[in-house]
């Protein structure tokens, strides 16, 4: 199964965008004075968090569509999107922990944002594990769709955690808690690098999702071929 022309163009664009965003993060954007070089983690840290949330939102939408239409394609999109979302959320949590070490003087603290992000990550890891645990494919898909809808509650909760509760986590968009540590004012090049990273990660997500859906489709066809072979 060779990738089609559009997917090939998208993949090449994603690679090019990643290289450009690295240039913007390391060379174009200036070094932040208070935090030093570690501030550059912020560009990909937030972008990874954004892609995680976007992936889980896509899962919510396609899970509803699957329950409404029973079309297998939506289930393939849902499981693919969750898998990518988990990878990006892992990046987000791990890079945040590394950033926190020199800024907060600790690798981890049970701050509302860190706690809700960890819960969200666990909820979606459980999605992938529980899905594997069910043998009946139809039951597996229906269960995953319902779970994908309910699990989404953890996403806005994570987003709002730094706005609802007192926290030391900086707020990028909107008002900031005075207790936040590591807050900084973005200069125009920093803002440009940040927006470009968000765009780049969104394109990378779309590319990975497309590839992953194709793989899921192939896995489904192989399963059908296997059952036909052994049942004939």
């Amino acid at each position: 199964m060779q990738p089609n022309r559009n997917l090939r163009i998208l993949t090449m664009s994603a690679v090019l965008l990643v290289l450009l965003s690295l240039y913007m993060n390391f060379i174009y954007a200036p070094r932040e004075v208070i935090m030093g070089a570690v501030q550059r983690v912020f560009y990909y840290h937030v972008a990874a968090g954004w892609v995680g949330a976007l992936a889980f939102l896509v899962t919510l939408i396609v899970s509803i569509l699957y329950l409404a239409t029973n079309n297998l394609r939506w289930d393939h999109v849902a499981v693919s999107s969750v898998e990518i979302g988990v990878v990006f959320t892992t990046m987000n949590i791990a890079s945040g922990s590394i950033w926190a070490r020199p800024i907060w003087n600790t690798w981890w603290t049970w701050d509302p944002r860190l706690t809700t992000a960890s819960v969200m990550w666990l909820v979606y890891v459980a999605y992938l594990m529980l899905r594997q645990g069910l043998e009946n494919p139809e039951q597996q898909r229906r269960f995953a769709a319902v779970y994908g809808i309910v699990a989404f509650v953890s996403v806005p909760l994570t987003f709002m955690a730094i706005r609802l509760w007192r926290t030391i986590h900086p707020v990028v968009i909107g008002s900031n808690d005075p207790a936040a540590e590591g807050q900084f004012d973005m200069t125009t090049p920093m803002r440009n690098a940040f927006m470009f990273s968000l765009f780049t990660f969104t394109v990378v997500y779309a590319t990975l999702l497309w590839h992953r859906i194709r793989t899921e489709g192939l896995a489904y066809r192989v399963a059908i071929m296997q059952s036909r072979l052994f049942n004939d």
Partner: protein, 55 residues
Amino acid sequence: MLLQDITPDTSFYMLLAYAVFAILGGGYVISLVARRRNLQRQSETIARMQVEKSE
């Protein structure tokens, strides 16, 4: 110059974080490629077995 005016050297943490991005991102891409190759091989094997069975 006052101590608080000196920008700290936090390059190690920056490199560590970008290494995490590279390992997780690259690792996921490699796993996708490996899974697809396995499935393609499986698909070819099954197709061959079907032909043999029909003969």
